[in-house]
């Protein structure tokens, strides 16, 4: 399945785009996506930390992804 990943802050700089499409096996977990992203964009491993958000909620590593999910990479936040 193809999922679209939104990127913000430093992740947008790393991806060079505000969203990218990634090919994932069906029933891939959030942790699978993280490994794929870190493989494709090694600079992701150099930031302090990052989380995935799925459908506007922070996602645990064992969350099963769906092609209709809205997925985003959330680097360390710094609002306020």
């Amino acid at each position: 399945m193809t999922v679209t990943i939104l990127a913000f802050g430093i992740a947008k700089d790393i991806f060079g785009a505000s969203s990218i499409d990634i090919e994932l096996p069906a029933d891939a977990l959030a942790s699978d996506l993280k490994l794929l992203l870190e493989d494709k964009y090694p600079r992701l491993k150099q930031i302090r930390s990052y989380l995935l958000a799925v459908n506007n909620e922070y996602a645990n590593d064992d969350l099963v992804l769906d092609s209709r999910d809205e997925i985003a990479v959330i680097p360390p936040v710094s609002g306020g």
Binding site: F8, I10, R48, N56, E57, P75, P76, V77, G79, G80
Partner: protein, 139 residues
């Protein structure tokens, strides 16, 4: 409605935020106003750029407001955050909390700004004369 959450690319109106929480049954309002400082760690800041994952940021701010209403006897909560390019002295965030008694207003307001900075998907880029950096992004 007792909570007001808003993200806007235009300047925040502090007085409007305060008006939203004013209530005859409240005796105390605590307001936190973030402002853009001219320096960070001794280095001159030219401007800040704020980016938000807007839908999720609103949802996370709403969760914080709801938690504050549950944890403290507060009656009204406003959280307004700005996005885009902000010059020194401009206001990225206003939080206003009204309660019958001031204890709750102070504590809830403090909780809201502290937790907003930890959980709400908004990012700040500091722009210096010689470069720019996403705050907190790198070790």
């Amino acid at each position: 409605m007792n909570t007001y959450i808003h993200i806007s690319p235009t300047p925040l109106n502090i007085q409007s935020c305060i008006d939203l929480v004013m209530s005859p049954s409240c005796g105390g309002i605590d307001v936190f106003i973030g402002t853009v400082r001219d320096a960070t760690k001794g280095k001159q800041v030219l401007r800040l750029e704020f980016e938000a994952y807007e839908k999720m940021a609103v949802s996370e701010m709403q969760k914080l407001a709801d938690r504050a209403m549950q944890q403290w006897p507060v009656q009204k909560v406003v959280i307004h955050h700005r996005t885009g390019v902000l010059q020194v002295g401009e206001v990225p965030v206003v939080i206003a909390v009204a309660a019958a008694h001031r204890d709750a207003a102070f504590e809830a307001c403090r909780f809201l700004i502290d937790t907003l900075k930890q959980t709400v998907p908004i990012w700040k880029k500091e722009v210096f004369e010689d470069g720019e950096v996403w705050v907190s992004a790198t070790p």
